[in-house]
């Protein structure tokens, strides 16, 4: 039940954030320093999520099949593959490495 509660709270917070841009007077959000910081924090969150999804196992840092998945994904992105292809290649790489008995 408490997971349901967090799902709803998180979803409603995100809806509220979208509405803010339509309802709030513009000065606050038009501040360039604020816009710059928001853009940089988006990058930071995604970079941190790449690291935690790749190396974290609970509170331990581990190297396993996920690192191979990320390397393959980076190669695909370098070659300008679309999002869905990158994700599928990432899954396939991790699955293949595990099928070979590692990670």
């Amino acid at each position: 039940m408490s997971l349901w509660l967090w799902v709803l709270i998180a979803a409603l917070v995100c809806v509220a954030l979208k509405l803010v841009g339509y309802l709030v007077p513009t000065e606050v959000l038009e501040n360039r320093r604020m816009a710059h910081t928001a853009a940089m924090v988006t990058c930071a969150l995604l970079a941190a999520l790449v690291v935690t999804q790749t190396f974290a196992e609970g509170t331990a840092l581990v190297i396993d099949a996920r690192l191979v998945a990320v390397a393959v994904a980076a190669g695909a992105l370098w070659l300008r593959a679309p999002f869905i292809v990158v994700v599928i290649l990432g899954a396939a790489a991790a699955a293949a490495v595990r099928a070979l008995g590692w990670g």
């Binding site: 841009g21 339509y22 999520l49 974290a56 679309p82 990432g90």
Partner: protein, 231 residues
């Protein structure tokens, strides 16, 4: 009255973006179920939260054993950019009442990008609505499909779904790394997260990275010269 060529082109673009982006809702649905959410919770996230980065972050932190509060805080921080998009789209669309609620809900990366890429205002409005509604419809259908698929797949690691999650975040990050400063921020965030993983509960390393880099970005910011002289 026939729509102008620029409007028709915007609608075509919007629908193709909707199809392409919507399709990866399949990966969200499958990953969400693998992270321990049920099919309904997964679908509610796509219908109500409806902003991909936040959705992936929420389920990623829940799946890693993080708390609901950390997952919610991370999803919210990733959703802040939609406020800035809303600001730009509000002055373009000037929507009223219920339409405003609908416009706000489909104000995301893709609809804003398609709108901003158009040569005139009618095309920008057409691009916004077609991309936003297109992504909404296909993203939610694909989420349901992915969640049902994830349910029958069983052990997520065997299918490499944990690798897919890491790949998905890298793909979301990639197009934002064009500027030198974004690259620096990304490296700092990655290092902070790695240092924090062994010493903090799941979810906290990501928030710590956000806090540190927000400080850096805020203090490092310099107004461009033409803005300073105009002030």
């Amino acid at each position: 009255m026939r729509a102008s060529p620029s409007v028709r082109s915007a609608v075509r673009q919007g629908i193709s973006v909707g199809l392409a982006t919507g399709a990866y809702g399949i990966s969200f649905g499958a990953l969400s179920v693998a992270a321990g959410l049920d099919v309904w919770q997964t679908c509610v996230l796509s219908l109500l939260m409806f902003t991909g980065g936040s959705q992936f972050a929420f389920i990623g932190i829940i799946g890693a054993g993080g708390g609901g509060a950390a997952a919610t805080a991370t999803a919210a921080l990733l959703g802040v950019r939609n406020s800035l998009y809303g600001l730009q789209m509000a002055s373009l669309l000037k929507p009223r009442r219920l339409v405003r609620l609908g416009a706000a809900q489909i104000t995301i990366d893709e609809s804003t990008a398609v709108a901003l890429a158009q040569p005139d205002e009618p095309a920008a409005r057409a691009g916004f609505w077609s991309a936003g509604l297109g992504v909404f419809v296909f993203w939610n259908l694909a989420t349901l499909g992915g969640a049902l698929l994830g349910d029958v797949l069983g052990d997520p690691a065997r299918w490499g779904l944990d690798g897919a999650a890491a790949a998905a975040f890298l793909a979301l990050l990639w197009p934002r790394l064009k500027q030198r400063q974004a690259q620096t921020i990304g490296v700092v965030a990655a290092v902070v997260a790695a240092i924090m993983i062994p010493i903090a509960p799941a979810g906290v390393p990501v928030l710590a990275a956000a806090a540190v880099t927000a400080g850096i970005a805020w203090w490092q910011y310099r107004e461009p010269p033409h803005v300073r002289s105009a002030a």
